[in-house]
Structures are given as C-alpha cells and as structure tokens.
C-alpha cells in the first residue's frame, strides 16, 4: 500500500504539518483572546522571543558554529544554517544597507503559512510574527540587539515574504557582581 513507502519523507512532512497546524491553532486562539490584530502581533512577538532565547542553545549545540565575525556572517548563518535546520528553507540575503547594518531575508515560501488564508477582517495581522520574536530573542542571547520586522508577506498579497533585520547595538555581557 502507498502508506508503506516514503516512510521518512512522510514523517518529516507530518512533523512539518504538526508544526504548521499547531501554529495555526495558536494564531486562531490569540485572535479569539485579543480584540485587535496589533495585540495579537505583540503576543506572537513575545512568545517568539521566549522561544528564541531557548532555541539558540539548541542551535549552537547542533550546528557547531563558532562566533560570527560580523553582521554579514550572522546573516549568512541565519539564512543558510538556522532556517535550513529548523524550517527546511534557505531564504536569500539581500538589500544590504550601505552601512552594512541592515539586510533583508527573502523567503520564497514560508512553511508557517501552508494551507493558510487571512480573512478580510484581519488585514493588519502579521501571521508569522513569531519568527521576528524568535530571531530577536536568539540574537539577544549572543549579545546582539536587533530589530526584526516583516516588510512583505505573501499572505497579504505580496509576491514574496521579506523580513528586514537591523543591527542596533552590541549588548555588553553583564557579569554577575563578584565578591570583590
């Protein structure tokens, strides 16, 4: 029977569907709990942040990547290693600002939005905003304060999904107060 074949690809796809469907259930629940899209966007960002600060450890443990030398290297690691590892896609890194402190991630397809359509009354909802929080939280744990936001979204009619990341500053390590 067709069920027997492609066991591994099917199970990977199923994991992806489990994640996508669960994310959809989350957004639906948040829309029910909060009156407006702005609030939902904020909650998604907050939850993403909480996930990001933990995910970074899993990432560093599994990827064996050393410290990045500069923001360009960070961008490459995010696009080619992190996104590939967790979402199975490799966004392209483009639109660097002249100062080299801002860039865009272009996602041809976004696994979070498989099977998703936004109803008309949620035009300001940033469905995948969890991703922004995850990136922000993860980078904060490696001493980088960044601003992350969606500038294009296929769910809202754009051709591609574009995430803009801006380096704000380096976070100084706060060593706990010593005895002396």
């Amino acid at each position: 029977m067709s069920r027997q074949s492609n066991r591994t690809t099917d199970s990977k796809k199923m994991n992806s569907e489990l994640f996508t469907l669960t994310y959809g259930a989350l957004v639906t629940q948040l829309c029910k709990d909060y009156e407006n899209d702005e609030e939902v966007n904020k909650q998604l960002d907050k939850m993403g942040y909480n996930i990001g600060v933990r995910l970074i450890e899993d990432f560093l443990a599994r990827s064996n990547i050393g410290r990045c030398q500069d923001f360009r290297e960070t961008a490459d690691v995010i696009a080619k290693v992190a996104f590939k590892m967790y979402l199975g896609i490799t966004p392209s890194v483009t639109n660097w600002s002249p100062a080299g402190d801002e860039f865009s991630l272009i996602l041809e397809n976004n696994p979070l939005v498989d099977f998703v359509e936004l109803p008309d009354n949620h035009s300001t909802l940033i469905y995948s905003n969890l991703l922004c929080g995850v990136l922000r939280g993860a980078l904060e744990m490696v001493q980088m304060a960044v601003d992350v936001r969606f500038v294009q979204d296929t769910l809202r009619g754009d051709n591609v999904t574009e995430i803009r990341m801006k380096f704000i500053k380096r976070i100084e390590e706060n060593l706990p107060a010593g005895d002396e």
Binding site: L18, F19, I51, Y86
Partner: protein, 163 residues
C-alpha cells in the same frame, strides 16, 4: 520541513502562555483556572488532530470497525505524529481503550522518573485533544484523558461515546 524541536519549543511556549493568561495577575492558580487552561489546550489540539488525520487518510480505504480505527491510531497515526508506535493497546471491547506509550515524545524532555509528575497534565492536554480530534474525523466521538505514573511513560484512556 519543520524540525521536530521547533514543535516542542512551540508547544512548551503555548502551554506557558495559556496558563499565564488564565491566571492573569492572580497570586495563585485555582482549580477553575487550571481546568480552563486544560480546556483551551485540548481544544487547540482537537483542531490540529482533525487536520492531521485528514491529511494522513485522504487516500486510504475506509476502516472495517472501531478496533481497526484504534489500531490505525496506535500505529500509523502515532508514528507520524509522535514518532513511534503505541507500546500497548488494551480494550474491554465495550468502547474503552487504553493506549500506553512508554516514551511519550512530549514528556521525554521533561523528566524521566517521578520528578515534576504534577506538571505532566499541562503538557498532555494538547495531545489528548489531538487524539480526540483525529478520532472525531474518523467518525468516533470520544473522551480522551491521560495519566502519568512515571515519566516519560504515559497512558491515554479513550472512551468512545455511543450515540
């Protein structure tokens, strides 16, 4: 394809968020809040279970009987969703089934043994909903509960509701 750790992190954050919301500023969580949280998580799982079983069975032939459905849930569905098969299925042949998973995927990262046993129900509500949702789309109305004696081993009790 989304990595399984992503789902685990997302699930933990969802549980944390739901419980925080229900408690909303109160000092201590009371039983009503706890029940409401479990209910919200179970409801989310229900919709997810429905979706998953639809995708999984869209090309399959229909099932012979109730036991056939339960065996499918224990083997194929459990493998696809929880990455292993149910270790033990018991039934009284009168609509009650107990599915035992000795290494339940959502509990393995929490603890092995008796520590945090009181926290386990929080992390099982969603999964109970997933099972109930899957059965619902296969034509079976049920009540699904879970109990844990020693982590990460878990028993799901399914009681099929007769109309």
């Amino acid at each position: 394809m989304a990595d399984e750790t992503l789902f685990e992190f997302l699930h933990m954050e969802i549980v944390s968020h739901v419980y925080k919301e229900q408690q909303s500023g109160k000092e201590v969580m009371d039983n009503k809040d706890r029940a409401a949280s479990v209910s919200v998580l179970e409801g989310m799982g229900f919709r997810v279970g429905q979706g998953l079983i639809e995708r999984l069975t869209k090309d399959s032939p229909s099932f012979k009987d109730e036991l056939d459905i339960m065996k499918f849930v224990c083997k194929d569905f459990w493998t696809k969703v929880f990455r292993r098969q149910v270790d033990n299925l018991r039934t009284n042949h009168q609509g009650t089934y107990v599915l035992q998973d000795n290494k339940f995927a959502l509990l393995t990262q929490l603890s092995s043994g008796k520590q945090y046993l009181d926290q386990a129900p929080k992390y099982l509500a969603f999964s109970c909903g997933v099972v109930r949702g899957a059965l619902s789309n296969l034509g079976l109305d049920s009540v699904v509960t879970a109990e844990v004696a020693v982590m990460p081993s878990c028993k799901f009790q399914v009681v099929i509701q007769k109309l």
